[in-house]
Amino acid sequence: MHEMSLAESVLQIIQDSAAAENFQRVRSVTLEIGKLSSVEPDAMRFCFDAVTRGSIAEDATLEIIETPGAGVCLGCGEKVEMQEKYGLCPHCGSAQLKVVSGDLMRVKDLAVE
């Protein structure tokens, strides 16, 4: 959801970085998108392309690393792998799973010149 405004955030982050690190051109952008975040990678690619046209990141390669979801069960305390945000603990069946990782969306790094 909101891949367009998130792609605009990516561009904003790139532009902030360009001002701080003094580069003119972005060759590739690496995003870490959590499995449990609300981003659809294909929609993100489309929006990234659209948003970066005419910018220093035009034609940059977009690499998306999908980070796995993990949580802890508040019922039995076991660590659980999570494919989706809401589910049941495979050990005790509790619905109280607290997400520990995999719901972030971030710009990891840029290859620039």
Partner: protein, 268 residues
């Protein structure tokens, strides 16, 4: 770019005004790509050295930092800000109008209204004598922290005021956008399904209080109150729940008492 908060500008109208230059955009159509391989762009060969810049910044960082800015403003002025969310038609505005009528002689209040179009809700609020700013999001589906920041600039707020933000009627998107509020209050009406919390878990997880509205209609419906409460607690075991009716007045005292307790907590 907006010089106050650095936002890139958006198409929202805040109190009838555009806060900064809107970005030009052409028509876009989205079709999912035919294959799943990453797109490769063949950049022209050149001899300039590439280097890696570590960024590690969250995509929602901008909204989060503006929300923090709002939150700091509220704290500095001892203001309780509540973000009212729900699907369209749950009775948020009627509930807010009833709340204002009961509270307006007791304290200073202001309202920020969010809708795609029209000033209708802000006008209903102003008819009670309470100041209201209408944000029209245009194509947008949720309020964000930068819109709230701009709206606050147009309101004269006393220290210790109560601020209600009535979000765009939408049970999906507003859940992800922190406005700087003290709490999200989700309004669910008994004319909706008992499984709403299960279908829209992000919103019910994000809310601290659920107001179950239109309870005066229960005799005419097959709505199972206990099931709705159980479903809400399944996605959010700590959610507080108040049953009320903005039209008959039942439960309204309990809601006002909840607000009062929240305001006391602010002072601690």
């Amino acid at each position: 770019m907006c010089t106050t908060c650095g936002c890139g500008g958006h198409d929202a109208l805040i109190g009838g005004k555009r806060p900064s230059k809107a970005k030009a955009s052409g028509p876009l159509s989205f079709r999912a790509p035919q294959n799943a391989t990453p797109q490769h762009h063949h950049a022209p060969a050149d001899t300039v050295q590439s280097r890696i810049v570590q960024v590690e910044r969250d995509l929602l960082a901008k909204n989060d930092s503006l929300a923090t800015h709002n939150r700091v403003f509220f704290a500095a002025n001892n203001m309780l800000a509540l973000n009212l969310v729900s699907s369209p038609g749950s009775g948020k505005t009627t509930l807010l109008v009833r709340t204002l009528e009961m509270l307006k002689n007791k304290q200073s209040i202001a309202v920020i209204e969010g809708d795609q179009q029209t000033e209708n809700d802000a006008e209903r609020i102003r008819a009670t004598g309470i100041p209201a700013i209408q944000i029209n999001t245009g194509k947008g589906c949720h309020l964000d922290a930068s819109m709230i920041g701009h709206a606050l600039d147009q309101l004269t707020l006393d220290k210790g005021s109560l601020l209600f933000i009535e979000n765009v009627g939408n049970l999906v998107c507003p859940a992800a956008f922190d406005l700087g509020e003290a709490a999200k209050v989700v309004v669910l009406s008994v004319t909706e399904g008992e499984d709403k919390p299960l279908k829209y878990p992000d919103m019910f997880s994000a809310a601290r209080l659920m107001l179950l509205n239109k309870c005066d209609l229960l005799p005419y419906l097959t709505f199972d109150v206990e099931l709705a409460i159980a479903n809400a607690r399944r996605v959010n075991p700590n959610i507080e729940i108040i049953q009320l009716s903005a039209t008959s007045g039942v439960g309204m005292e309990e809601w006002l008492n909840w607000i009062g307790r929240e305001q006391v907590h602010l002072k601690i």
